[in-house]
Amino acid sequence: MKYWHVLQVGIQNTLVYRVNFFFRASFGLIPLMATIYLWRAIYASNPGKGDVAGYSLAAMTAYYLLATVVDALTAVAEDDWQIAADIKDGQISHILLKPMDYLAYRLSLFAAGRLVYTAAALLPVGTFLLAQHESFVLPASLPTFALFACSTLLTALLQFLLSYTMALLAFWVLEVSTFIFIVFAFEYIAGGHLFPLDILPPALAQALNFTPFPYQLYFPVSVYLGRVTGAALWRGLLVQVIWVLVMFVLARLVWRRGIRHYSAVGG
């Protein structure tokens, strides 16, 4: 299968960046530790209260640890910049000539990138998780873990498709980075990078559920931590699948429009 080869080549190419990835994962632990310290101080400042919106200090810590793991597995790192650069420099002309689908091609490269990143991050993040082992909980049961794995996979697809579609804006505008950062900002707060979404006022948290953002990080973490169970869990997974399909159709549409608009630079 040809995309298997793309994956292999992608792994070899990304291995060049392993030192960079190692540094990024290691530096990334420092803000994480700062956040954990911050929450410790908050819990210490309210000794009578016990928990915040149903989170004990240990649960809160576990949330951030899990978010770090899911983020390492699913976050888009360089892919969107590369896609935008491919379009801007006219590199996609080469790919259009090959019997390959660009989306599948980029998806294989994304998977390769995540594999290498996860491997590079394993040492620093793994060490950190071991050091925090009293907060790092195991999932309630094997089925929970399986559902978490499914949800994480869907999260990765959603992350990829959204970034892919955003990067395709390069067909129309010269500089896509601002748009990517705007979407990233929303993803950062509404996806649950900054704090678990259920500490928000309930109305606001409910409203966010109508956006794709919670399914880009918060949802799989909640599944793992057992904060969403039963019917709500299945409903959430279904919504996640729907978002993936919606984003897939959107990505295809934007690509079709874009390619019609495209005229190779210097080609």
Partner: protein, 290 residues
């Protein structure tokens, strides 16, 4: 006219102003160089106006995001250690001010250094009759970041009103040099790290990873229990001092007396270290492929 004829002009003219007042003349000369560099940089930036405005918006959005984080957290607690809500907002504003002024003056210059080394353009800069570090550090200016710094000041003003504080002239006079020390620390450490590019071409990734640490500056220092983490980020990479100390001075918050002195001393030490690294790096430099 040949050089030997020099000796036939006995009436020696007084040395030019530059020789008599090296400090003042050099300052004026470098001021003019800086103005020329910035003019170029602004002209270049203004050819992409929409992009320029969008970047300001992106930065404002991220600033708003941090503010909403504080709003959410203080929905669940009255205090973080000793810090109340509006004190933390004040801190966030000050940290925004310091970080954005740093970004306006130095950020892209520091990240560009590895490009100069990689492409060999540093050769050209080294040949110019001016201090190379100065040229490298002041090549570009980012006007948009000044707009975002102003947003930081606006948030600070609002937070001060909420705290019913009117800083005295003395507090303002202490606040500004402490901010400047914070900017100098940011710049020196970033520049120090950027000189790593003389040894490895992948320095840019390291520099950007490091930039994430700037976010620590907006957290109240009292939230951190004494320990190695706090010690490192107070005395080695003083992120917990750069914004905390100026704010505590401005709002007369409880503070340890030595903090200001430590901040100022570390600013000078960091600058000296970056200067040392720069000289060692340039000596190590062997152009690129030319």
């Amino acid at each position: 006219m040949n050089s030997s004829s020099d000796s036939t002009f006995p009436p020696r003219t007084p040395p030019p102003v530059a020789m008599r007042e090296p400090g003042f003349a050099a300052l004026r000369r470098y001021g003019r160089i800086c103005a020329a560099l910035w003019r170029n940089s602004v002209v270049r930036e203004m050819s992409f106006k929409a992009n320029f405005l969008l970047w300001i918006f992106v930065e404002l959005l991220w600033f708003a995001l941090q503010l909403s984080f504080i709003a959410v957290i203080y929905g669940h607690t009255e205090r973080i250690a000793t810090w109340s809500k509006w004190e933390v907002v004040l801190l966030l504003g000050a940290s925004q001010l310091i970080q954005q002024v740093f970004a306006a003056l130095f950020l892209s210059n520091c990240t560009q250094l590895s490009e100069y080394v990689r492409t060999g353009r540093l050769d050209f800069l080294l040949l110019l009759p001016a201090n190379t570090r100065f040229l490298v550090s002041f090549r570009q200016v980012d006007l948009g970041a000044f707009a975002n710094a102003a947003a930081g000041v606006a948030v600070m003003a609002y937070a001060l009103r909420q705290l019913h504080l009117t800083p005295t002239l003395g507090q303002m006079a202490g606040f500004l040099p402490l901010c400047a020390a914070g900017i100098l620390i940011h710049y020196s450490l970033m520049f120090l790290l950027a000189t790593v590019c003389f040894w490895t071409v992948r320095a840019q990734g390291i520099v950007w990873s490091y930039y994430n640490l700037f976010n620590l500056a907006r957290l109240p220092d009292a939230a951190f229990q004494p320990g190695w983490f706090k010690a490192v980020f107070t005395f080695v990479l003083p992120m917990l001092l750069v914004a905390n100390v100026p704010v505590k001075h401005l709002a007369a918050l409880p503070r340890t007396p030595w903090e200001s002195a430590v901040l100022l001393t570390l600013a000078l030490l960091c600058f000296a270290a970056s200067e040392g690294a720069w000289h060692a790096s340039v000596r190590h430099y062997t152009s690129a492929s030319s």
